[in-house]
Protein backbone atom coordinates (compact mmCIF):
# COMPACT_ATOMS: atom_id res chain seq x y z
CA UNK A 1 0.00 0.00 0.00
CA UNK A 2 2.64 2.48 1.12
CA UNK A 3 4.93 1.37 -1.71
CA UNK A 4 2.28 2.26 -4.33
CA UNK A 5 1.94 5.69 -2.79
CA UNK A 6 5.67 6.23 -3.19
CA UNK A 7 5.58 5.26 -6.85
CA UNK A 8 2.77 7.72 -7.48
CA UNK A 9 4.70 10.52 -5.85
CA UNK A 10 7.66 9.68 -8.05
CA UNK A 11 5.46 9.90 -11.15
CA UNK A 12 4.57 13.45 -10.30
CA UNK A 13 8.16 14.58 -10.05
CA UNK A 14 9.76 16.28 -13.05
CA UNK A 15 11.45 13.84 -15.43
CA UNK A 16 14.98 14.78 -14.39
CA UNK A 17 14.38 13.87 -10.73
CA UNK A 18 12.76 10.52 -11.59
CA UNK A 19 14.79 7.32 -11.17
CA UNK A 20 16.93 6.30 -14.08
CA UNK A 21 14.71 3.36 -15.15
CA UNK A 22 11.82 5.77 -15.80
CA UNK A 23 13.97 8.02 -17.91
CA UNK A 24 15.27 5.08 -19.91
CA UNK A 25 11.77 3.74 -20.55
CA UNK A 26 10.47 7.14 -21.54
CA UNK A 27 13.32 7.52 -23.99
CA UNK A 28 12.66 4.06 -25.44
CA UNK A 29 8.95 4.77 -25.80
CA UNK A 30 9.58 8.12 -27.48
CA UNK A 31 11.84 6.41 -29.99
CA UNK A 32 9.14 3.84 -30.78
CA UNK A 33 7.62 4.73 -34.17
CA UNK A 34 4.05 3.89 -33.09
CA UNK A 35 4.17 6.11 -30.03
CA UNK A 36 5.81 8.85 -32.04
CA UNK A 37 3.09 8.46 -34.65
CA UNK A 38 0.39 8.87 -32.01
CA UNK A 39 2.11 11.97 -30.70
CA UNK A 40 2.33 13.48 -34.18
CA UNK A 41 -1.38 12.74 -34.73
CA UNK A 42 -2.22 14.34 -31.39
CA UNK A 43 -0.21 17.44 -32.20
CA UNK A 44 -1.93 17.60 -35.58
CA UNK A 45 -5.34 17.22 -33.91
CA UNK A 46 -4.52 20.08 -31.58
CA UNK A 47 -3.39 22.26 -34.45
CA UNK A 48 -6.56 21.46 -36.44
CA UNK A 49 -8.71 22.23 -33.41
CA UNK A 50 -7.08 25.62 -33.08
CA UNK A 51 -7.42 26.31 -36.80
CA UNK A 52 -11.02 25.09 -37.20
CA UNK A 53 -12.89 26.13 -34.06
CA UNK A 54 -10.47 29.06 -33.79
CA UNK A 55 -11.57 30.50 -37.13
CA UNK A 56 -15.15 31.16 -35.99
CA UNK A 57 -13.97 32.35 -32.59
CA UNK A 58 -11.39 34.68 -34.14
CA UNK A 59 -14.07 36.09 -36.45
CA UNK A 60 -16.33 36.85 -33.50
CA UNK A 61 -13.41 38.26 -31.50
CA UNK A 62 -12.50 40.61 -34.33
CA UNK A 63 -15.92 41.70 -35.59
CA UNK A 64 -18.03 41.44 -32.45
CA UNK A 65 -15.96 41.49 -29.25
CA UNK A 66 -13.36 44.03 -30.36
CA UNK A 67 -16.07 46.51 -31.50
CA UNK A 68 -17.89 46.01 -28.19
CA UNK A 69 -14.70 46.60 -26.21
CA UNK A 70 -14.08 49.65 -28.39
CA UNK A 71 -17.46 51.22 -27.55
CA UNK A 72 -16.88 50.30 -23.89
CA UNK A 73 -13.85 52.59 -23.96
CA UNK A 74 -15.79 55.12 -26.05
CA UNK A 75 -18.44 55.24 -23.33
CA UNK A 76 -15.90 56.74 -20.92
CA UNK A 77 -14.98 59.58 -23.28
CA UNK A 78 -17.10 62.58 -24.22
CA UNK A 79 -18.63 64.26 -27.21
CA UNK A 80 -16.84 67.44 -28.22
CA UNK A 81 -18.03 70.20 -30.56
CA UNK A 82 -19.52 68.99 -33.87
CA UNK A 83 -19.61 65.30 -32.97
CA UNK A 84 -15.88 65.03 -32.31
CA UNK A 85 -14.66 62.92 -29.42
CA UNK A 86 -12.78 64.31 -26.43
CA UNK A 87 -10.39 61.64 -25.16
CA UNK A 88 -10.66 62.34 -21.47
CA UNK A 89 -11.83 59.65 -19.11
CA UNK A 90 -15.12 60.52 -17.47
CA UNK A 91 -18.22 58.82 -16.09
CA UNK A 92 -20.40 61.76 -17.19
CA UNK A 93 -22.20 59.65 -19.84
CA UNK A 94 -23.25 57.08 -17.29
CA UNK A 95 -24.32 59.84 -14.89
CA UNK A 96 -26.41 61.37 -17.66
CA UNK A 97 -28.26 58.21 -18.68
CA UNK A 98 -28.72 56.85 -15.20
CA UNK A 99 -29.54 60.07 -13.36
CA UNK A 100 -30.80 62.76 -15.76
CA UNK A 101 -33.37 63.40 -18.46
CA UNK A 102 -32.24 62.83 -22.03
CA UNK A 103 -31.87 65.85 -24.29
CA UNK A 104 -31.76 64.90 -27.99
CA UNK A 105 -31.44 67.52 -30.72
CA UNK A 106 -32.93 70.03 -28.32
CA UNK A 107 -35.95 67.78 -27.91
CA UNK A 108 -36.45 66.98 -24.26
CA UNK A 109 -37.80 63.49 -23.87
CA UNK A 110 -39.94 63.31 -20.79
CA UNK A 111 -38.54 59.89 -20.01
CA UNK A 112 -35.06 59.18 -18.84
CA UNK A 113 -33.02 56.39 -20.43
CA UNK A 114 -34.08 54.12 -17.61
CA UNK A 115 -37.76 54.68 -18.33
CA UNK A 116 -37.22 53.75 -21.96
CA UNK A 117 -35.22 50.70 -20.90
CA UNK A 118 -38.06 49.79 -18.54
CA UNK A 119 -40.55 50.25 -21.38
CA UNK A 120 -38.46 47.89 -23.55
CA UNK A 121 -38.53 45.24 -20.82
CA UNK A 122 -42.28 45.77 -20.45
CA UNK A 123 -42.86 45.32 -24.20
CA UNK A 124 -40.61 42.27 -24.09
CA UNK A 125 -42.64 40.78 -21.26
CA UNK A 126 -46.02 41.50 -22.92
CA UNK A 127 -44.76 40.03 -26.20
CA UNK A 128 -43.53 36.88 -24.45
CA UNK A 129 -46.83 36.34 -22.64
CA UNK A 130 -48.83 36.95 -25.84
CA UNK A 131 -46.68 34.68 -28.04
CA UNK A 132 -46.93 31.93 -25.43
CA UNK A 133 -50.71 32.31 -25.17
CA UNK A 134 -51.12 32.34 -28.96
CA UNK A 135 -48.32 29.92 -29.84
CA UNK A 136 -48.89 27.00 -27.47
CA UNK A 137 -52.00 25.60 -29.14
CA UNK A 138 -50.53 25.64 -32.69
CA UNK A 139 -47.26 24.18 -31.37
CA UNK A 140 -49.27 21.45 -29.63
CA UNK A 141 -51.36 20.84 -32.74
CA UNK A 142 -48.27 20.50 -34.97
CA UNK A 143 -46.66 18.17 -32.43
CA UNK A 144 -49.66 15.83 -32.09
CA UNK A 145 -51.32 15.90 -35.50
CA UNK A 146 -51.04 12.88 -37.76
CA UNK A 147 -52.05 14.87 -40.81
CA UNK A 148 -49.97 14.15 -43.87
CA UNK A 149 -49.75 17.90 -44.42
CA UNK A 150 -47.75 18.39 -41.24
CA UNK A 151 -44.50 19.32 -42.96
CA UNK A 152 -46.38 21.74 -45.19
CA UNK A 153 -47.96 23.32 -42.12
CA UNK A 154 -44.55 23.54 -40.46
CA UNK A 155 -43.19 25.16 -43.59
CA UNK A 156 -45.76 27.93 -43.25
CA UNK A 157 -44.55 28.65 -39.72
CA UNK A 158 -40.94 28.85 -40.92
CA UNK A 159 -41.56 30.79 -44.14
CA UNK A 160 -42.44 34.18 -42.60
CA UNK A 161 -38.93 34.07 -41.12
CA UNK A 162 -37.63 34.29 -44.70
CA UNK A 163 -39.56 37.47 -45.44
CA UNK A 164 -37.43 40.58 -44.76
CA UNK A 165 -38.34 41.90 -41.30
CA UNK A 166 -39.01 45.35 -42.65
CA UNK A 167 -41.76 43.97 -44.90
CA UNK A 168 -43.34 42.03 -42.04
CA UNK A 169 -43.59 45.17 -39.93
CA UNK A 170 -44.60 47.33 -42.88
CA UNK A 171 -47.47 44.91 -43.63
CA UNK A 172 -49.06 45.97 -40.34
CA UNK A 173 -49.24 49.56 -41.58
CA UNK A 174 -51.56 48.28 -44.33
CA UNK A 175 -53.63 46.40 -41.73
CA UNK A 176 -53.77 48.97 -38.93
CA UNK A 177 -53.19 52.27 -40.77
CA UNK A 178 -55.49 55.09 -41.92
CA UNK A 179 -56.81 53.41 -45.08
CA UNK A 180 -55.95 50.02 -43.63
CA UNK A 181 -57.85 46.77 -43.64
CA UNK A 182 -59.30 47.12 -40.14
CA UNK A 183 -60.47 50.72 -40.63
CA UNK A 184 -62.14 49.72 -43.91
CA UNK A 185 -63.84 46.65 -42.48
CA UNK A 186 -65.04 48.56 -39.41
CA UNK A 187 -66.22 51.35 -41.76
CA UNK A 188 -68.56 48.85 -43.43
CA UNK A 189 -70.33 48.25 -40.14
CA UNK A 190 -70.40 51.96 -39.37
CA UNK A 191 -67.46 52.36 -36.98
CA UNK A 192 -65.31 55.33 -37.97
CA UNK A 193 -61.66 55.52 -36.93
CA UNK A 194 -58.32 57.01 -37.89
CA UNK A 195 -56.44 53.75 -37.80
CA UNK A 196 -54.79 51.94 -34.96
CA UNK A 197 -51.12 52.72 -35.47
CA UNK A 198 -48.58 54.56 -33.32
CA UNK A 199 -49.43 53.13 -29.90
CA UNK A 200 -48.31 50.36 -27.51
CA UNK A 201 -50.78 47.83 -28.89
CA UNK A 202 -49.55 48.26 -32.49
CA UNK A 203 -45.91 47.80 -31.41
CA UNK A 204 -46.63 44.66 -29.39
CA UNK A 205 -48.89 43.26 -32.13
CA UNK A 206 -46.08 43.59 -34.66
CA UNK A 207 -43.57 42.03 -32.26
CA UNK A 208 -45.91 39.14 -31.48
CA UNK A 209 -46.52 38.33 -35.14
CA UNK A 210 -42.84 38.54 -36.05
CA UNK A 211 -41.60 36.50 -33.07
CA UNK A 212 -44.34 33.82 -32.92
CA UNK A 213 -42.34 31.22 -34.92
CA UNK A 214 -39.61 31.37 -32.23
CA UNK A 215 -42.24 30.23 -29.72
CA UNK A 216 -44.17 27.74 -31.87
CA UNK A 217 -41.15 25.77 -33.14
CA UNK A 218 -39.55 24.83 -29.77
CA UNK A 219 -42.98 23.93 -28.37
CA UNK A 220 -43.67 21.80 -31.43
CA UNK A 221 -40.31 20.08 -30.98
CA UNK A 222 -40.88 19.10 -27.35
CA UNK A 223 -44.55 18.10 -27.81
CA UNK A 224 -43.59 16.03 -30.85
CA UNK A 225 -41.06 14.06 -28.77
CA UNK A 226 -43.57 13.08 -26.07
CA UNK A 227 -44.30 9.35 -26.23
CA UNK A 228 -48.02 8.74 -26.92
CA UNK A 229 -47.97 5.94 -24.36
CA UNK A 230 -47.42 8.36 -21.47
CA UNK A 231 -50.62 10.17 -22.32
CA UNK A 232 -52.53 6.99 -23.04
CA UNK A 233 -51.52 5.37 -19.78
CA UNK A 234 -52.56 8.47 -17.84
CA UNK A 235 -55.96 8.21 -19.49
CA UNK A 236 -56.14 4.43 -18.88
CA UNK A 237 -55.54 5.08 -15.21
CA UNK A 238 -58.57 7.31 -15.16
CA UNK A 239 -57.26 10.80 -15.86
CA UNK A 240 -59.57 13.02 -17.88
CA UNK A 241 -58.03 14.35 -21.13
CA UNK A 242 -57.59 17.73 -19.46
CA UNK A 243 -55.89 16.21 -16.43
CA UNK A 244 -53.66 14.09 -18.67
CA UNK A 245 -52.65 17.31 -20.41
CA UNK A 246 -51.85 19.15 -17.16
CA UNK A 247 -50.01 16.26 -15.58
CA UNK A 248 -48.16 14.80 -18.56
CA UNK A 249 -48.04 16.90 -21.72
CA UNK A 250 -47.61 20.33 -20.17
CA UNK A 251 -44.71 19.42 -17.83
CA UNK A 252 -42.96 17.54 -20.63
CA UNK A 253 -43.26 20.54 -22.96
CA UNK A 254 -41.76 22.95 -20.40
CA UNK A 255 -38.28 22.91 -22.02
CA UNK A 256 -39.85 24.13 -25.27
CA UNK A 257 -41.83 26.80 -23.43
CA UNK A 258 -38.77 28.14 -21.62
CA UNK A 259 -36.56 28.06 -24.72
CA UNK A 260 -39.20 29.89 -26.75
CA UNK A 261 -39.87 32.42 -23.99
CA UNK A 262 -36.26 33.46 -23.46
CA UNK A 263 -35.64 33.85 -27.19
CA UNK A 264 -38.80 35.88 -27.74
CA UNK A 265 -38.09 38.06 -24.70
CA UNK A 266 -34.49 38.84 -25.67
CA UNK A 267 -35.34 39.52 -29.32
CA UNK A 268 -38.33 41.70 -28.39
CA UNK A 269 -36.37 43.83 -25.90
CA UNK A 270 -33.72 44.60 -28.55
CA UNK A 271 -36.22 45.44 -31.30
CA UNK A 272 -35.69 48.58 -33.34
CA UNK A 273 -38.15 48.25 -36.19
CA UNK A 274 -41.40 47.57 -34.33
CA UNK A 275 -41.36 50.92 -32.47
CA UNK A 276 -39.80 52.74 -35.44
CA UNK A 277 -42.55 51.72 -37.87
CA UNK A 278 -45.60 50.99 -35.71
CA UNK A 279 -45.04 53.16 -32.63
CA UNK A 280 -45.14 56.87 -31.88
CA UNK A 281 -42.48 58.93 -30.06
CA UNK A 282 -43.90 57.72 -26.74
CA UNK A 283 -43.38 54.06 -27.66
CA UNK A 284 -39.61 54.28 -28.16
CA UNK A 285 -37.49 51.34 -27.09
CA UNK A 286 -33.86 51.25 -26.07
CA UNK A 287 -32.60 50.37 -29.57
CA UNK A 288 -34.34 53.44 -31.02
CA UNK A 289 -32.83 55.71 -28.39
CA UNK A 290 -29.31 54.35 -29.04
CA UNK A 291 -29.84 54.72 -32.79
CA UNK A 292 -30.99 58.36 -32.48
CA UNK A 293 -28.18 59.30 -30.13
CA UNK A 294 -25.61 57.72 -32.43
CA UNK A 295 -26.96 58.55 -35.88
CA UNK A 296 -28.81 61.85 -35.44
CA UNK A 297 -27.30 63.52 -32.38
CA UNK A 298 -23.82 62.19 -33.28
CA UNK A 299 -23.06 61.66 -29.62
CA UNK A 300 -21.10 58.42 -30.01
CA UNK A 301 -19.82 58.28 -26.40
CA UNK A 302 -23.31 58.72 -24.95
CA UNK A 303 -24.76 56.14 -27.38
CA UNK A 304 -21.97 53.75 -26.37
CA UNK A 305 -22.78 54.16 -22.68
CA UNK A 306 -26.46 53.45 -23.47
CA UNK A 307 -25.45 50.32 -25.38
CA UNK A 308 -23.29 49.20 -22.44
CA UNK A 309 -26.12 49.53 -19.93
CA UNK A 310 -28.39 47.59 -22.31
CA UNK A 311 -25.74 44.85 -22.65
CA UNK A 312 -25.32 44.58 -18.87
CA UNK A 313 -29.09 44.10 -18.50
CA UNK A 314 -29.14 41.60 -21.40
CA UNK A 315 -26.31 39.51 -19.94
CA UNK A 316 -27.90 39.62 -16.50
CA UNK A 317 -31.07 38.16 -18.01
CA UNK A 318 -29.12 35.51 -19.92
CA UNK A 319 -27.12 34.58 -16.79
CA UNK A 320 -30.22 34.23 -14.64
CA UNK A 321 -31.84 32.15 -17.34
CA UNK A 322 -28.72 30.01 -17.73
CA UNK A 323 -29.04 28.91 -14.12
CA UNK A 324 -32.38 27.29 -14.93
CA UNK A 325 -31.99 26.20 -18.56
CA UNK A 326 -28.70 26.02 -20.45
CA UNK A 327 -28.44 28.42 -23.38
CA UNK A 328 -27.05 25.51 -25.38
CA UNK A 329 -30.38 23.72 -25.05
CA UNK A 330 -32.18 26.76 -26.44
CA UNK A 331 -30.21 26.53 -29.67
CA UNK A 332 -30.60 22.78 -29.84
CA UNK A 333 -34.37 23.16 -29.92
Amino acid sequence: MSERHETRAEDLRPASSQPLRFRVWTAVLRADPVVRGIQVVKRRERLLTVLQAGLGLAWMALFLLAPLVYILSLSFWQRGAGGTIVYEATVANYQEILLQNVDLLGWQIGNTYLLILWQSLKFGFLTTVATLALGYVPGYFLGRTESRYRSLLLLFVVLPFWVPLIIRYYAWILVLGNDGLITTVLGWVGVASNGYLYNDVAVVTGLVQVLLPFMILPIYNTVNKIDDEYIESAKTMGASPLRAFYEVTLPLSLPGISAGSILVFILAVGSFMAPALLGGPANMMVANLISQTFGQAFDWPLASAMAMVYLVVLFAIITVFNRFVGLEEVFDQ
Binding site: E45, T49, Q52, A53, G54, L55, G56, L57, W59, M60, F63, L64, A66, P67, L68, I71, L74, L134, F141, S151, L153, F156, V157, V158, L159, W162, V163, P164, L165, I166, I167, Y170, A171, W172, I173, L174, V175, T184, V185, Q209, L212, P213, L217, S240, P241, I266, G270, S271, F272, L277, N288, I290, S291, G295, S304, A307, Y310, L314, L327, E328
Partner: protein, 269 residues
Protein backbone atom coordinates in the same frame (compact mmCIF):
# COMPACT_ATOMS: atom_id res chain seq x y z
CA UNK B 1 -67.17 21.31 -18.84
CA UNK B 2 -64.34 20.16 -21.03
CA UNK B 3 -64.88 16.56 -19.98
CA UNK B 4 -68.28 16.74 -21.64
CA UNK B 5 -66.70 17.65 -24.95
CA UNK B 6 -65.90 14.71 -27.15
CA UNK B 7 -62.31 14.13 -28.21
CA UNK B 8 -63.24 15.11 -31.75
CA UNK B 9 -64.78 18.40 -30.69
CA UNK B 10 -61.74 19.26 -28.60
CA UNK B 11 -59.38 18.42 -31.44
CA UNK B 12 -61.47 20.51 -33.85
CA UNK B 13 -61.23 23.47 -31.49
CA UNK B 14 -57.44 23.10 -31.43
CA UNK B 15 -57.38 22.84 -35.21
CA UNK B 16 -59.57 25.93 -35.53
CA UNK B 17 -57.34 27.96 -33.20
CA UNK B 18 -54.30 26.87 -35.21
CA UNK B 19 -56.03 27.94 -38.42
CA UNK B 20 -56.74 31.40 -36.95
CA UNK B 21 -53.10 31.73 -35.97
CA UNK B 22 -51.98 30.95 -39.51
CA UNK B 23 -54.30 33.73 -40.65
CA UNK B 24 -52.62 36.10 -38.18
CA UNK B 25 -49.16 35.03 -39.39
CA UNK B 26 -49.80 35.16 -43.12
CA UNK B 27 -52.68 37.56 -43.80
CA UNK B 28 -50.64 40.80 -43.46
CA UNK B 29 -48.12 39.53 -46.03
CA UNK B 30 -50.91 38.48 -48.37
CA UNK B 31 -52.34 42.00 -48.11
CA UNK B 32 -49.02 43.55 -49.20
CA UNK B 33 -49.09 41.39 -52.35
CA UNK B 34 -52.78 42.11 -52.97
CA UNK B 35 -52.45 45.89 -52.61
CA UNK B 36 -49.39 45.94 -54.87
CA UNK B 37 -51.77 45.36 -57.81
CA UNK B 38 -54.11 48.17 -56.76
CA UNK B 39 -53.91 51.06 -59.27
CA UNK B 40 -54.75 53.94 -56.90
CA UNK B 41 -52.38 55.99 -54.73
CA UNK B 42 -54.10 54.89 -51.53
CA UNK B 43 -54.70 51.42 -50.23
CA UNK B 44 -58.24 50.19 -50.90
CA UNK B 45 -60.10 47.09 -49.76
CA UNK B 46 -61.03 45.33 -51.90
CA UNK B 47 -58.55 46.63 -54.53
CA UNK B 48 -60.13 48.93 -57.10
CA UNK B 49 -58.71 46.93 -59.96
CA UNK B 50 -55.73 44.95 -61.07
CA UNK B 51 -52.83 46.85 -62.54
CA UNK B 52 -49.08 46.66 -62.84
CA UNK B 53 -48.64 50.45 -62.53
CA UNK B 54 -46.54 50.27 -59.39
CA UNK B 55 -44.40 47.48 -60.78
CA UNK B 56 -43.72 49.60 -63.88
CA UNK B 57 -42.76 52.52 -61.63
CA UNK B 58 -40.53 50.24 -59.59
CA UNK B 59 -38.73 48.73 -62.58
CA UNK B 60 -38.33 52.19 -64.12
CA UNK B 61 -36.57 53.49 -61.03
CA UNK B 62 -32.82 53.18 -61.38
CA UNK B 63 -32.36 54.04 -57.71
CA UNK B 64 -34.53 51.14 -56.51
CA UNK B 65 -33.01 48.67 -58.96
CA UNK B 66 -29.52 49.72 -57.84
CA UNK B 67 -30.57 49.03 -54.26
CA UNK B 68 -31.75 45.57 -55.30
CA UNK B 69 -28.37 44.88 -56.93
CA UNK B 70 -26.53 46.12 -53.81
CA UNK B 71 -28.59 43.80 -51.63
CA UNK B 72 -27.79 40.93 -53.94
CA UNK B 73 -24.04 41.59 -53.92
CA UNK B 74 -23.92 41.91 -50.12
CA UNK B 75 -26.13 38.86 -49.51
CA UNK B 76 -24.19 36.63 -51.91
CA UNK B 77 -20.86 37.75 -50.45
CA UNK B 78 -22.02 37.24 -46.86
CA UNK B 79 -23.50 33.82 -47.60
CA UNK B 80 -20.17 32.71 -49.09
CA UNK B 81 -18.01 34.13 -46.28
CA UNK B 82 -20.32 32.95 -43.49
CA UNK B 83 -20.67 29.60 -45.30
CA UNK B 84 -16.91 28.99 -45.30
CA UNK B 85 -16.28 30.27 -41.76
CA UNK B 86 -19.40 28.56 -40.39
CA UNK B 87 -18.59 25.21 -42.02
CA UNK B 88 -15.00 25.12 -40.78
CA UNK B 89 -15.80 26.21 -37.24
CA UNK B 90 -18.77 23.80 -36.99
CA UNK B 91 -16.40 20.95 -37.90
CA UNK B 92 -14.00 22.12 -35.18
CA UNK B 93 -16.75 22.32 -32.58
CA UNK B 94 -18.40 18.98 -33.36
CA UNK B 95 -15.38 16.79 -34.00
CA UNK B 96 -12.81 18.00 -31.52
CA UNK B 97 -12.73 18.24 -27.79
CA UNK B 98 -11.38 21.25 -25.98
CA UNK B 99 -11.95 23.19 -22.80
CA UNK B 100 -14.82 25.67 -22.36
CA UNK B 101 -16.43 24.33 -25.53
CA UNK B 102 -19.98 25.23 -24.61
CA UNK B 103 -19.11 28.74 -23.37
CA UNK B 104 -17.08 29.36 -26.52
CA UNK B 105 -19.84 28.07 -28.78
CA UNK B 106 -22.28 30.53 -27.22
CA UNK B 107 -19.92 33.27 -28.45
CA UNK B 108 -20.89 32.15 -31.96
CA UNK B 109 -24.58 32.59 -31.13
CA UNK B 110 -24.15 36.05 -29.66
CA UNK B 111 -25.00 38.03 -32.83
CA UNK B 112 -28.50 36.49 -32.72
CA UNK B 113 -29.14 37.77 -29.20
CA UNK B 114 -27.63 41.26 -29.10
CA UNK B 115 -29.77 43.99 -30.63
CA UNK B 116 -28.61 44.67 -34.21
CA UNK B 117 -28.55 48.37 -33.34
CA UNK B 118 -25.76 47.75 -30.83
CA UNK B 119 -23.82 45.56 -33.28
CA UNK B 120 -24.34 48.19 -35.99
CA UNK B 121 -23.17 51.05 -33.79
CA UNK B 122 -20.19 49.16 -32.34
CA UNK B 123 -18.87 47.93 -35.70
CA UNK B 124 -19.29 51.38 -37.26
CA UNK B 125 -17.36 53.07 -34.46
CA UNK B 126 -14.65 50.39 -34.48
CA UNK B 127 -14.09 50.00 -38.23
CA UNK B 128 -14.19 53.73 -39.00
CA UNK B 129 -11.67 54.27 -36.22
CA UNK B 130 -9.25 51.79 -37.78
CA UNK B 131 -9.69 53.76 -41.01
CA UNK B 132 -12.02 51.53 -43.01
CA UNK B 133 -14.33 53.05 -45.65
CA UNK B 134 -18.03 52.20 -45.70
CA UNK B 135 -18.05 50.12 -48.87
CA UNK B 136 -19.30 46.70 -49.94
CA UNK B 137 -16.49 44.98 -48.03
CA UNK B 138 -17.64 46.76 -44.85
CA UNK B 139 -21.21 45.56 -45.44
CA UNK B 140 -20.12 41.99 -46.19
CA UNK B 141 -17.95 41.82 -43.05
CA UNK B 142 -20.84 43.13 -40.94
CA UNK B 143 -23.50 40.92 -42.50
CA UNK B 144 -21.28 37.82 -42.31
CA UNK B 145 -21.00 38.41 -38.56
CA UNK B 146 -24.79 38.71 -38.25
CA UNK B 147 -25.56 35.54 -40.25
CA UNK B 148 -22.68 33.33 -39.09
CA UNK B 149 -24.75 31.79 -36.23
CA UNK B 150 -27.34 30.49 -38.70
CA UNK B 151 -24.76 28.67 -40.84
CA UNK B 152 -22.96 27.40 -37.74
CA UNK B 153 -26.11 25.95 -36.18
CA UNK B 154 -27.42 24.22 -39.33
CA UNK B 155 -24.05 22.69 -40.27
CA UNK B 156 -23.52 21.61 -36.67
CA UNK B 157 -26.91 19.86 -36.61
CA UNK B 158 -26.03 18.04 -39.82
CA UNK B 159 -22.62 16.98 -38.46
CA UNK B 160 -24.16 15.51 -35.31
CA UNK B 161 -26.01 13.00 -37.47
CA UNK B 162 -22.97 12.19 -39.60
CA UNK B 163 -21.62 8.65 -39.59
CA UNK B 164 -17.82 8.92 -39.49
CA UNK B 165 -17.32 5.28 -40.49
CA UNK B 166 -17.88 6.19 -44.16
CA UNK B 167 -14.88 8.54 -43.88
CA UNK B 168 -12.81 5.74 -42.41
CA UNK B 169 -13.95 3.48 -45.25
CA UNK B 170 -12.76 6.04 -47.81
CA UNK B 171 -9.42 6.41 -46.01
CA UNK B 172 -8.98 2.64 -45.82
CA UNK B 173 -9.73 2.34 -49.51
CA UNK B 174 -6.83 4.65 -50.24
CA UNK B 175 -8.32 8.14 -50.52
CA UNK B 176 -6.23 10.86 -48.90
CA UNK B 177 -7.75 13.23 -46.35
CA UNK B 178 -8.52 16.00 -48.81
CA UNK B 179 -10.20 13.58 -51.23
CA UNK B 180 -12.17 12.09 -48.37
CA UNK B 181 -13.36 15.53 -47.28
CA UNK B 182 -14.31 16.71 -50.76
CA UNK B 183 -15.84 13.46 -52.01
CA UNK B 184 -17.33 11.91 -48.88
CA UNK B 185 -17.74 14.42 -46.05
CA UNK B 186 -18.80 17.49 -48.00
CA UNK B 187 -21.54 15.80 -50.09
CA UNK B 188 -23.16 14.26 -47.03
CA UNK B 189 -23.24 17.49 -45.01
CA UNK B 190 -24.20 19.54 -48.09
CA UNK B 191 -27.92 19.77 -47.24
CA UNK B 192 -27.10 21.43 -43.90
CA UNK B 193 -24.53 23.74 -45.45
CA UNK B 194 -26.86 24.69 -48.32
CA UNK B 195 -29.75 25.34 -45.94
CA UNK B 196 -27.53 27.50 -43.72
CA UNK B 197 -26.10 29.48 -46.63
CA UNK B 198 -29.53 30.00 -48.17
CA UNK B 199 -30.80 31.29 -44.84
CA UNK B 200 -27.70 33.49 -44.53
CA UNK B 201 -28.41 34.92 -47.98
CA UNK B 202 -32.05 35.60 -47.17
CA UNK B 203 -31.35 37.23 -43.79
CA UNK B 204 -28.57 39.39 -45.19
CA UNK B 205 -30.79 40.37 -48.13
CA UNK B 206 -33.50 41.66 -45.81
CA UNK B 207 -31.35 43.07 -42.99
CA UNK B 208 -32.16 46.66 -42.14
CA UNK B 209 -31.45 47.52 -38.51
CA UNK B 210 -27.66 47.18 -38.39
CA UNK B 211 -27.29 47.99 -42.08
CA UNK B 212 -28.67 51.51 -41.65
CA UNK B 213 -25.39 52.45 -39.92
CA UNK B 214 -23.20 50.75 -42.51
CA UNK B 215 -24.43 52.10 -45.86
CA UNK B 216 -23.18 54.97 -48.00
CA UNK B 217 -25.28 56.61 -50.75
CA UNK B 218 -23.66 54.29 -53.31
CA UNK B 219 -24.18 51.08 -51.34
CA UNK B 220 -27.80 51.61 -50.22
CA UNK B 221 -29.60 48.26 -50.03
CA UNK B 222 -33.24 47.39 -50.78
CA UNK B 223 -34.51 47.30 -47.16
CA UNK B 224 -32.98 50.76 -46.58
CA UNK B 225 -34.90 52.14 -49.58
CA UNK B 226 -38.13 50.58 -48.29
CA UNK B 227 -37.60 52.13 -44.85
CA UNK B 228 -36.91 55.54 -46.36
CA UNK B 229 -40.08 55.34 -48.46
CA UNK B 230 -42.16 54.16 -45.49
CA UNK B 231 -40.87 57.01 -43.32
CA UNK B 232 -41.21 59.74 -45.95
CA UNK B 233 -43.93 59.16 -48.55
CA UNK B 234 -45.67 55.80 -48.05
CA UNK B 235 -45.87 55.44 -51.84
CA UNK B 236 -47.50 52.26 -53.24
CA UNK B 237 -44.16 51.50 -54.95
CA UNK B 238 -43.26 50.00 -51.55
CA UNK B 239 -45.83 47.24 -52.10
CA UNK B 240 -44.43 46.38 -55.53
CA UNK B 241 -40.85 46.41 -54.22
CA UNK B 242 -41.83 44.35 -51.16
CA UNK B 243 -43.50 41.77 -53.40
CA UNK B 244 -40.40 41.54 -55.58
CA UNK B 245 -38.27 41.06 -52.45
CA UNK B 246 -40.55 38.29 -51.22
CA UNK B 247 -40.27 36.57 -54.61
CA UNK B 248 -36.48 36.66 -54.23
CA UNK B 249 -36.30 35.55 -50.59
CA UNK B 250 -39.27 33.15 -50.39
CA UNK B 251 -40.70 32.06 -53.74
CA UNK B 252 -37.41 31.33 -55.55
CA UNK B 253 -35.85 29.40 -52.61
CA UNK B 254 -39.14 27.51 -52.24
CA UNK B 255 -39.22 26.54 -55.91
CA UNK B 256 -35.56 25.52 -55.75
CA UNK B 257 -36.36 23.47 -52.70
CA UNK B 258 -39.23 21.66 -54.39
CA UNK B 259 -37.22 21.15 -57.56
CA UNK B 260 -34.27 19.66 -55.67
CA UNK B 261 -36.53 17.79 -53.24
CA UNK B 262 -34.18 18.45 -50.34
CA UNK B 263 -36.49 20.13 -47.83
CA UNK B 264 -33.79 22.72 -47.15
CA UNK B 265 -36.17 25.33 -45.77
CA UNK B 266 -37.50 23.04 -43.06
CA UNK B 267 -33.94 22.09 -42.26
CA UNK B 268 -33.10 25.70 -41.55
CA UNK B 269 -35.70 25.84 -38.76
Amino acid sequence: MSTRLSDDARWNAIRGATGLLYLFLLLPLFIVVLISFNPTQYAAFPPEGLSLTWYQKFFASERLLDALVSSFVVAAGSALVAGAVGLISAIGFVRRDFQYKSVLSSLLFLPMLISPVVIGVALTAFLTDVGMQKNYLFLILGHSTLVLPYVFVTVRAQLFGFDRSIEEAALTLGANELETFVEVTLPSIMPGLAAGMLLAFVISFGEFTATQFWVQPDTVTAPIEIYTMVRTSLTPEINAMATVLMIITVVIPLLLDVALGKNLILKSA
